[in-house]
């Protein structure tokens, strides 16, 4: 009966879902939620990564009946969750290095399988490796690709806040063009990060032909939960990249993390989709298309694009970038994705955006 009632929140932009059908509710709305990352950790106010990680890991815990072990890359998430002798993790958790997370995950998955085999245990714990965009798209990229090609039974989750936040907001290969970081400052003729740099790790992951690849944002946590749950239904290498705005690094008010993530999604700045075995299987459609300016104006890292001295050409280029994403991934209406999309950096490099 509840199914038929169209509550005002359904399909709206809010996170709350208390009035939804229980089956449709977020795991976090349940009193017996796993709460794998408990309160008391030292993340900043409004931390997108803490939010994303809590929802992702809890969803995985629920999908596997609590059989999750986590490998964490060096980074904010590791630092704020485990200040010795405390730990905010209520599941088996290990941190080794910045760049080796995927490989440690492979080793742990092998150990879990072999230990179960040796002990005649049919219950084999599942492995999640997680890290930020620096640890994933840059320094940990080789081991990540190795884990993918071996199809090791690991779900890798990249919490993408588009720069090295733990070390003080330096540019990574996930930093978008024109964004301010400590190593791409707002000085000179072309303030902020250069155009035509960077890579799309989700598309690279798909090119490995692994069972499951998805992107998500903390603006749609139920979508994130659904994707983690879907990922746990596969064995083999899986990859989810979650956009997690960083109030400190992006220059946001700490209460606007979710809002800005939504603007990234609704403007086409960050395409949200999922793919199985190299093919896109679903796209999270834009509900209320927003101009990229709405996304930019909330962030001090783009302050140079919204003030009086702003260069309208750069804003126009960023809008073209979003429009290309929308077309490429079929993010609007009944559009279908245009085959396997081309990395947006190709459009930048060929000056098509």
């Amino acid at each position: 009966m509840l199914d038929k009632i169209n509550f005002y929140q359904t399909g709206s932009n809010t996170v709350g879902n208390r009035l939804l059908n229980p089956a449709m509710r977020s795991i976090q709305a349940s009193v017996d939620r796993p709460n794998s990352l408990i309160s008391g950790h030292r993340a900043c106010q409004g931390c997108g990564e803490a939010l994303g990680a809590r929802y992702a890991i809890d969803a995985a815990m629920r999908a596997t009946n609590g059989q999750i072990m986590v490998v964490n890359a060096t980074g904010c998430l590791e630092v704020f969750s485990t200040p010795y002798p405390e730990s905010a993790w209520r599941l088996p958790w290990v941190h080794s290095l910045f760049g080796n997370t995927a490989a440690v995950g492979s080793g742990l998955a092998a150990a879990a399988k072999i230990r179960a085999m040796k002990n005649g245990d049919t219950n084999v714990p599942r492995i999640i490796a997680q890290g930020g965009d620096g640890g994933t798209t840059d320094i940990g990229f080789g081991p990540l690709s190795g884990m993918f090609e071996r199809n090791d039974d690991v779900l890798y989750i990249c919490y993408d806040n588009e720069a090295y936040m733990n070390t003080g907001v330096q540019r990574s290969s996930a930093t978008p063009p024109a964004a301010r970081t400590a190593t791409t400052q707002l000085v000179g003729e072309h303030p902020g990060a250069d155009w035509g740099r960077g890579k799309s790790v989700p598309l690279i992951a798909m090119a490995h032909g692994i069972p499951y690849v998805a992107t998500a944002t903390v603006a749609d946590l139920r979508d994130l939960e659904a994707k983690v749950t879907r990922a746990m239904s596969f064995h083999g290498a899986r990859y989810i990249q979650v956009l997690v705005p960083c109030p400190l690094g992006w220059g946001l008010k700490s209460n606007s993390t979710v809002t800005v993530a939504r603007a990234a999604m609704e403007s086409g700045f960050f395409p949200v989709f999922e793919a199985e075995y190299g093919k896109i299987t679903s796209v999270r459609k834009i509900r209320q298309k927003q101009p990229v300016l709405n996304f930019l104006k909330m962030q001090r890292r783009y302050a140079h694009l919204t003030g009086k001295k702003a260069d309208p050409n750069v804003v126009a280029r960023l809008q073209a970038l979003c429009d290309t994403n929308i077309k490429n991934f079929g993010l609007l209406g009944d559009d279908e994705p245009n085959g396997v999309p081309t990395a947006i950096q190709a459009y930048e490099r060929s000056n098509r955006v």
């Binding site: 609590g66 059989q67 999750i68 072990m69 490998v71 964490n72 590791e78 630092v79 485990t82 200040p83 010795y84 002798p85 405390e86 730990s87 993790w89 209520r90 599941l91 088996p92 958790w93 290990v94 941190h95 080794s96 290095l97 760049g99 080796n100 995927a102 490989a103 440690v104 995950g105 492979s106 080793g107 742990l108 998955a109 092998a110 150990a111 879990a112 399988k113 072999i114 230990r115 085999m117 040796k118 714990p125 080789g142 081991p143 690709s145 190795g146 090609e149 071996r150 090791d152």
Partner: protein
């Protein structure tokens, strides 16, 4: 069982006897034959319940090993030279996390210039990494030491590098006595980790430690090293009793009774030197050899006893510290502090330059003639090769024969 096989195959069989749960491999000469053979054993089913992973780099090899050991599996990998350096960050992580990984280092020079041949610059570059470093003088020693290494690592709670000379041992076909599976099963029971990642009892491993506890973490790590000295001796005694082998130990003395001079040597050169020492004995020259097996932990007390009241000691070193001097010699000096023992470094055998019996003979005679006047001597340097460069470039020439550090220093002053 006696077999005539390649050293690498012997080590692979030894590793298989230890029933590791995870083995990962990345190719680098001269360790490749070892992991190739282990991989074959896994594929044929000779080694059961073992996952063999072909990874994409040494950095991932050590990282897979870290994950596997943290997951409670007996874990093995192998590397050499550049590969060991590429692992370096993970090497420290593994020891800091107290993971009992066993890894072969098929010792090989480090480039540049690239060189694939044997010396000890790779393993000794990781001297301060917190791993136990056990050196092998023969392939039989390597076979036995690998088996002991698992037990030592698991008892101490630290990873172990088993260092065997690349090519000279790994590629040599020799008679090996391979213990039986029954013997090793008795010696090395299934691995029961004290703490590992399991959903049954969740723990966090590898938390961030700040200034309030880091010193204490390091103190406790050093304490494990101190414990390791005893464990190495205990495990060696147990293994020798079980198999009748003569391998392992902290160090081994050869012809050390009343020796006028003692040579301290690590690795395969020990065997070559033993033959030469026997020949010298017939000439009435009494030289002892101390085969240094455990470089980390360094057996200061055992070394002091082994040297005893011998007044002259030469450390044959196959690596050195740029801008410094020898690597073994300072340790031996520490062991002999407060005595009037004369301890010097003879560096030789770099990048695969062969150390012959004649090299040892010349070294002994050089020493007994009182010609080791400096702490550091380039013993087997070829002045023709040097001069072919320095004469034209700088007008500097070097005389034939061993060169002391002061000759090198003087050549810079006058150039």
């Amino acid at each position: 069982m006696l077999r005539q096989i390649e050293g690498s195959l012997g080590v692979a069989q030894a590793v298989a006897l230890c029933r590791p749960g995870v083995v990962c491999a990345y190719p680098i000469s001269p360790q490749t034959h070892i992991v190739e053979n282990v991989g074959k054993f896994v594929k044929t089913g000779a080694l059961k319940d073992c996952d063999f992973l072909n990874v994409e780099s040494e950095f991932s090899a050590i990282s897979v090993a870290i994950g596997s050991a943290a997951g409670g599996c007996r874990t093995y990998t192998a590397t050499a030279s550049q590969g060991l350096l590429y692992m370096a960050e993970g090497i420290y992580s593994a020891s800091g996390l107290g993971l009992p990984i066993v890894m072969t280092v098929a010792s090989r020079a480090i480039g540049g210039p690239i060189n694939i041949w044997n010396d000890h610059s790779d393993s000794l570059s990781q001297r301060d990494s917190g791993w136990l470093q056990l050196f092998c003088e023969s392939n039989q020693d390597a076979v036995d030491t690998h088996i002991m290494a698992f037990k030592i690592a698991e008892k101490v709670g630290l990873p172990v590098m088993v260092c065997m000379d690349g090519f000279v041992l790994t590629h040599a076909f020799e008679r090996l006595d391979i213990p039986s599976q029954e013997q090793i099963d008795e010696f090395l029971p299934p691995y029961e980790p004290r703490e590992y990642l399991t959903t049954k009892e969740p723990v966090s491993i590898g938390a961030m430690v700040g200034p309030e506890a880091f010193t204490e973490v390091r103190f406790l790590q050093q304490r494990k090293m101190a414990k390791a000295l005893k464990v190495i001796e205990e495990v060696t005694a147990e293994y020798r009793k079980l198999t009748g082998s003569k391998s392992g130990g902290l160090l081994e003395c050869y012809n050390c009774e009343n020796a006028d001079l003692k040579l301290i040597i690590m690795g395969s050169t020990v065997g070559t030197a033993k033959d030469e020492i026997d020949r010298l004995k017939k000439e009435g020259i009494n030289v002892g050899i101390i085969s240094l097996k455990s470089f980390r932990p360094f057996p200061y007390e055992a070394m002091r006893q082994a040297i005893g009241d011998t007044k002259q000691v030469i450390c044959l070193e196959r690596a050195f510290s740029f801008g410094g001097r020898g690597i073994i010699c300072p340790e031996v000096k520490r062991a002999m502090e407060g005595t009037n023992c004369d301890i010097k470094t003879a560096v030789c055998g770099l990048g695969g330059r062969a150390i012959y019996g004649t090299t040892i003979n010349a070294m002994v005679k050089h020493a007994l003639a009182g010609k080791f006047t400096e702490e550091f001597t380039w013993f087997d340097v070829d002045s023709n090769v040097l001069n072919s460069y320095t004469k034209n470039a700088e007008g500097v020439t070097f005389p034939e024969g061993p060169l002391g550090a002061s000759q090198l220093e003087a050549s810079v002053k006058h150039a």
